[in-house]
Symmetry: C2
Subunit: 317 residues, 2 copies
């Protein structure tokens, strides 16, 4: 493990890939590993890209990669597909992209699918970001399919979030309603050569007008990703947003919030492990479950009694 | 609160609606309420219906309702839309349906949207089921939009799960791959008058052949919901599945699993509330977060130290 970590820090791609697999598979050594690499993280800037399937996200990310490389930035890409059970680069689209960038040692692409629960996926994504951050990537791009709540959770890890819409979708307004408005730092109207593109942009701007007091007004950037149109402007917008985040102190704030959530989760993880270890020793859970199934007891009172049995409350006094 | 609960048990619709609002809004009195009604639950049979937007789920559920009413069963319907911020019957489709069934005192329809997190929605759905169960409904139908992991979590509450696909979708196989296979007790190929319907059914059956050792083989039922075709057969399939669940003992098993998860959640809820109350008293979390942000400490060690500070571990010995 020690060896793997030092290989990671020395820029060994295979070590990065293996460590991401470890966090993805929830390996028992994971916590130890994350603890080791933590001091080496915090340098990467994380960009999230989300949008409905078919919005052209992937080709957008591809062209964006070229802009980033032109600026000599090293990049890690994590393609998250909550609807796919595949991971580890098995997705067709990624294989094609990997061929494209295979010769470039400064790009690392990885796909992640749903293995267990969605909560597990969003956690694994956050941990993979840590790995690529310690790996030394300047920018980490997270691409997620879809615009549901699940993707919102994943994207919440990003410093700048791009929401990709299309005029063809017709559901642009619907999408914005669904809580996407709040997470977008930049709106991308992709496939802007299609009819209705201007109307889509206007609709978004009208919505933005309604909360015009926000310190950052998300730009609405038209692109045609297959033709590499508008990508330069998009990259400029991302840089603008990054500058805003850094200069306003907002970046520090969101990172504090993230650390705070992480700490909370870690505390709860330790507490839970400890409590359940104790419960297993002292209580026949099966009997209790049986009583609740038979409506002899309710789960709410039962939970309280269970904690009293292991003297959880008593210990404080 | 006492009053509301006894009104619910007496079949008062307005009480049911208000109590669902209470759980949906995560009212402080919620736990007390759920404890009160718990002894009156466990009688309803829960049917989940999930499928992509546009698969015709809603009209399917509508016709199914008529079958259920013909068998003199009382029904509660919860329409869950994880992509919608609306709830409380504000969705257009529901308003139309409510008009249809408004005169029928034995049908209760309610829609729920995403208020907070998705986890919150799936919890609120489970609690709304408890309310309608105590309300005395024989059958509770949960209809959810989409086929992502989020819906899987919601549907896991159902005793029988119907997965609705369409030949038009083209993504039928894709959908099945995404973990839907595991949750389907019955496959519905809706819009079966469209070309490709038979191919879709064949594909599903081929997938089912691969795990032919399962004790229940999900039937694949073709329907044309707008024309009320195949609904009777579908209802028969649901009844077959229910009989299988009851006679094989599987129903008791899944309900035990559900109670076990619920008990776990309740214990962890109590533990968390207690721990955080203590932490707030004794520890300056902000300082700790600052240290972690500056990489002077990592969240994993910090979590352990925090618990030692409040003497969480020490109390056991």
């Amino acid at each position: 493990m020690q060896q793997l970590v030092s290989e990671l820090l020395n820029g060994n791609r295979r070590a990065a890939a293996r460590l991401i697999s470890l966090v993805e598979n929830d390996d028992p050594q994971k916590r130890e590993l994350l603890r080791e690499i933590y001091p080496h993280t915090g340098n990467a800037y994380v960009i999230g890209v989300t949008g409905a399937p078919g919005s052209g996200k992937s080709s957008l990310v591809d062209w964006l990669l070229k802009e980033l490389r032109r600026d000599a930035l090293t990049v890690g890409v994590i393609a998250v597909d909550p609807t796919s059970p595949f991971s580890g680069g098995a997705i067709l689209g990624d294989r094609i992209r990997m061929q494209d960038h295979a010769m470039d040692q400064d790009i690392f692409i990885r796909s992640m699918g749903t293995r267990g629960s969605l909560g597990g996926l969003s956690r694994a994504t956050r941990e993979a970001i840590q790995v690529l951050d310690a790996f030394g990537k300047d920018i980490i791009l997270i691409e997620t399919v879809g615009v549901g709540q699940s993707e919102v959770d994943i994207v919440r890890t990003a410093d700048s979030t791009l929401v990709v819409l299309t005029p063809a979708g017709g559901d642009s307004v619907q999408t914005i309603k669904a809580g996407i408005m709040e997470i977008a730092d930049i709106f991308v109207v992709n496939k802007s050569d299609l009819p209705g593109a201007e109307r889509t942009a206007t609709e978004i701007n009208m919505m933005l007008d309604m909360k015009s007091d926000a310190p950052w007004r998300p730009p609405v950037v038209p692109t045609v990703s297959v033709a590499n149109e508008g990508i330069e402007e998009l990259w400029k917008s991302v840089q603008d947003h990054r500058r805003y985040m850094e200069e306003s102190g907002r970046l520090i704030d969101v990172r504090r919030e993230r650390v705070s959530r992480e700490l909370t989760e870690q505390v709860e993880y330790l507490v839970k492990s400890h409590i359940w270890a104790q419960v297993k020793e002292e209580i026949k859970l099966d009997d209790l479950v049986g009583k609740i199934v038979n409506r002899e007891q309710d789960p709410y009172s039962a939970a309280g009694e269970l904690l009293e049995t292991i003297d959880f409350y008593g210990k404080d006094t």
